[in-house]
C-alpha cells in the first residue's frame, strides 16, 4: 500500500483560534473564533461547519453569528456528545479545526423586500440568530419583522443579553415564551405555537423562517398555514447528523436529499411530502 499526500481532499481543516467563550446555560457555551492566518470564513446565515478536534473527531455545528460581522464567527455548542463535551473544556486561546462552511443557508435574496416571521425553538435560536442579526444589520432591506422564541424554561434561555436588545428595538416585534416558568419569570408561558395567532402579519407578504426540533415544526407549520402563509414562503432548517458534509456518508439523507448539501435549509413545499423529514 502506497500513501500519497494531497493538499485538498475535502477532509483537510483550517485552524481557528478561540477568541472568547461565554457560558449561556448549564449545557450551552458560546465560542467566538477566527481563522488563523487572517483568512475570513466566507459563509451565509444558516450554513454549518464541521468542528474538528484531533483524536476526538468532528461534529457539525451551525454558525450562529451573522456574516455582516465578519472579523470572527460564533458557534453555540451544547455539550451532548463526545466532541461537544470536549469543546466545552476549551477556552480562549485554544485552537480547533474547521471544515466548511457547508450547505444551503437561508434564502436571503428571496427574503429581501418582504415581511419576516422568524421562529425559533430551543437551541434552534442559535442558527436562526445568524439570520436575525443579519436582518438587524440590514434592517431596511426587509419589511416588518417579528421574532418568536420558545424554550423549555427560563434556565435554558439562550442569548439573554441579545434578547433584551431585540426586545428594546422598535423596528422588531420580539416575543418570547417558556414551556415551564419559574417564580421570577414575568413573560409568556406556553408553546411557541400559541404566540402565532396573535401576531399581526400580512400572510401574502410574509416569509416564515423557523429553526427548532421536529415536533415544533409539525405544530408551527399547521399554525402558519392556518394563518394563510403560502407553502412556498415557509422556510425551515432540518437538523441531521452531517458526518462528512460532502453528500456522501449517508447519515443526513432524507429520501433522495442530502441535508448537508441540499439543505439544511429548505422551503416547506420541497420537503412536505417526504415522510420522516419532520
Amino acid at each position: 500500500m502506497e500513501k500519497l499526500l494531497l493538499s485538498h481532499t475535502g477532509y483537510e481543516v483550517k485552524e481557528a483560534r478561540i477568541l472568547r467563550t461565554s457560558r449561556l446555560t448549564e449545557k450551552d457555551k458560546l465560542f467566538e473564533l477566527s481563522l488563523i492566518g487572517g483568512e475570513i470564513l466566507d459563509f451565509e446565515p444558516g450554513q454549518f461547519v464541521e468542528v474538528s478536534l484531533l483524536g476526538v473527531g468532528e461534529a457539525p455545528i451551525s454558525i450562529c453569528s451573522s456574516p455582516t460581522r465578519r472579523q470572527s464567527f460564533e458557534l453555540c455548542v451544547r455539550a451532548v456528545g463526545r466532541l461537544t463535551t470536549a469543546l466545552h473544556r476549551l477556552e480562549a486561546g485554544d485552537v480547533v479545526g474547521i471544515r466548511g462552511p457547508f450547505g444551503v443557508g437561508f434564502p436571503i435574496t428571496r427574503l429581501i423586500g418582504h415581511d419576516l416571521l422568524l421562529i425559533a425553538g430551543g437551541i434552534g435560536l442559535a442558527p436562526l440568530r445568524s439570520l436575525i442579526n443579519y436582518v438587524m444589520d440590514n434592517r431596511r432591506d426587509f419589511g416588518r419583522v417579528h421574532v418568536l422564541f420558545g424554550c423549555k424554561d427560563p434556565q435554558n434561555l439562550l442569548f439573554r443579553d441579545e434578547i433584551e436588545l431585540w426586545q428594546r428595538r422598535m423596528d422588531v416585534g420580539f416575543q418570547c415564551t417558556v414551556d415551564r416558568a419559574d417564580p421570577d419569570w414575568k413573560g409568556n408561558v406556553g408553546m411557541v405555537t400559541a404566540l402565532i395567532p396573535g401576531v399581526d402579519i400580512n400572510p401574502e407578504e410574509t416569509f416564515a423562517v423557523m429553526v427548532g426540533p421536529p415536533v415544533m415544526y409539525r405544530f408551527v407549520i399547521a399554525e402558519l398555514l392556518k394563518k394563510g402563509i403560502p407553502e412556498d414562503q415557509i422556510v425551515l432548517s432540518l437538523e441531521r447528523h452531517m458526518k462528512c458534509g460532502l453528500g456522501k456518508c449517508g447519515h443526513c439523507q432524507i429520501h433522495d436529499i442530502y441535508c448537508c448539501q441540499d439543505g439544511p435549509v429548505f422551503f416547506y413545499e420541497r420537503i412536505k411530502d417526504l415522510k420522516g423529514a419532520i
Binding site: K3, Y11, E12, V13
Partner: protein, 348 residues
C-alpha cells in the same frame, strides 16, 4: 475496440503475465460453496465458475477502513490529507459487480468529488468475466438487466468452451494485452459464437419478478406505506449484513484513531450502515429511522428509487448478496414481489 482470442490452454500463461505486471486479485474458492476476491499467483488459483463473492470488489475501491488524513498534535490542529493506493489488477468481475463499480464511480465523481476514491480508482485495472448462466437462484440480474456487460471494464472475458473471447474496453486494457503472443485476433466465427451465446442468454435471463423495471421507482414511491415494510421490518435483525455485502452501499462513518502515543493519529472512514439504529440519530437523541421497518424501507428505496432520481440509475445490480447473507431470510425478490402485489404492479 477490438476482440482478442485466448485459447484456454494459454490461460495460465495469461495469468502469469498479469502477475508479472503487479498484484492480481481474482475470485478464489474458500470452501462451503463460498468465494472471495483474493490475491492469486497462477491460473489454477482462480475460480472461473463462482457465485458472487462474500464481499464485492467494493473492498478494493472503498476499503472498509481507510485513512483520510493523518495528524500530529505537536503541529497544532492541522490534518494532512492522504490517499492510500495500491496498483491492482482485478480479474474475473461479473457483470453485476461491474455495474456496482459503476454505481460507486457515479457517486464519488458527483460534486464535490471524492478524491480518496477517484485517485485510488486510477490504480485499479478491471477485467470482467461474463456469466453464461445463472450463478444461483438468489440473483435478479434478469430483472435489473445486468447480465450483459455495459462497460465499466478495461478487458472483458467471455468463456466460449475452448477459448476466451476478450473485449478490449479501454486504453488501459489495450496496454495490458501488449506483448502477449498467445493472444490472437478474433475472427468472424468467434464473434458469431459470442452472438449465439448472447442470444441464448437472452432466453435464460428473464425478469425474476414479473414487474416492469422502468416502473420500479414509481412502485416504490407508491408503496411507501405498504405492509411489506412492516413485515420484513418485523423479521430484520438490524445486523447490517445486507449493506456490508452490497456492491453499491457506500455509507460511512468518519472517526479518529489516535496512535498509542496519543500524539499522532489518523482520521479514517469506515463502512457504516443505515440498518444500524444510531445511523440517523441526532444530538437531541431523536432517531429519524427508529424502526427496523423504516430502515429496511430506506435501504430498498436507496436501491430502486432515490438514486434513480439523483443519479439516473438503479443501485441494485441483481447480485443477490443481500438475500444470500440475510440471517432472517429477507429475500429481495420476495420483497419486490410482495410490494408489486400490494401496489398492483405485478404482471399477471
Amino acid at each position: 475496440m477490438e476482440h482478442l482470442v485466448l485459447p484456454k490452454s494459454s490461460f495460465d500463461l495469461f495469468v502469469e503475465s498479469l502477475v508479472r505486471r503487479g498484484k492480481v486479485v481474482a475470485p478464489v474458492a474458500r470452501g462451503n460453496g463460498q468465494f472471495v476476491f483474493s490475491e492469486v499467483q497462477k491460473g489454477s488459483d482462480i475460480a472461473l465458475r463462482y457465485i458472487p463473492t462474500i464481499l464485492p470488489p467494493k473492498k478494493y475501491f472503498m476499503p472498509q477502513y481507510e485513512t483520510l488524513a493523518e495528524y500530529d498534535t505537536r503541529r497544532g490542529q492541522k490534518l494532512q490529507p492522504v490517499v492510500e493506493v495500491e496498483s491492482l489488477i482485478l480479474f474475473g468481475v461479473h457483470t453485476c459487480d461491474l455495474a456496482g463499480i459503476q454505481c460507486l464511480d457515479v457517486v464519488f465523481s458527483d460534486r464535490p468529488k471524492d478524491l480518496n476514491y477517484l485517485v485510488r480508482r486510477e490504480y485499479i485495472t478491471v477485467i470482467g468475466l461474463e456469466c453464461n448462466d445463472y450463478c444461483d437462484t438468489y440473483a435478479s440480474c434478469g430483472l435489473m438487466g445486468t447480465f450483459l456487460p455495459q462497460g465499466g471494464y478495461d478487458l472483458f472475458f467471455t468463456d466460449l468452451e475452448t477459448y476466451f473471447l476478450i473485449h478490449v474496453g479501454t486504453q488501459k486494457g489495450e496496454d495490458l494485452v501488449q506483448d502477449m503472443p498467445f493472444l490472437g485476433r478474433a475472427q468472424s466465427q468467434h464473434l458469431a459464437e459470442l452472438e449465439a451465446l448472447r442470444a441464448r442468454k437472452a432466453q435464460i435471463f428473464r425478469p425474476e419478478v414479473p414487474v416492469d423495471r422502468a416502473l420500479l421507482p414509481r412502485m416504490f414511491k407508491e408503496g411507501f406505506e405498504a405492509e411489506v415494510w412492516e413485515e420484513i421490518g418485523g423479521r430484520c435483525l438490524s445486523c447490517a449484513n445486507c449493506t456490508n455485502v452490497c456492491p453499491t452501499c457506500y455509507c460511512f462513518d468518519v472517526r479518529d484513531v489516535p496512535d498509542v502515543n496519543l500524539v499522532t493519529g489518523r482520521r479514517i472512514r469506515v463502512w457504516d450502515s443505515c440498518q444500524n439504529e444510531p445511523f440517523a440519530k441526532i444530538a437531541s437523541g431523536e432517531s429519524f429511522r427508529a424502526e427496523r421497518s423504516d430502515r429496511k424501507r430506506h435501504r430498498f428505496n436507496r436501491k430502486f428509487s432515490y438514486p434513480v432520481k439523483r443519479y439516473n440509475r438503479f443501485f441494485c445490480t441483481g447480485c443477490g448478496r443481500c438475500s444470500r447473507v440475510c440471517m432472517a431470510k429477507i429475500d429481495l425478490k420476495e420483497t419486490i414481489t410482495q410490494l408489486a402485489r400490494e401496489t398492483g404492479y405485478l404482471k399477471v
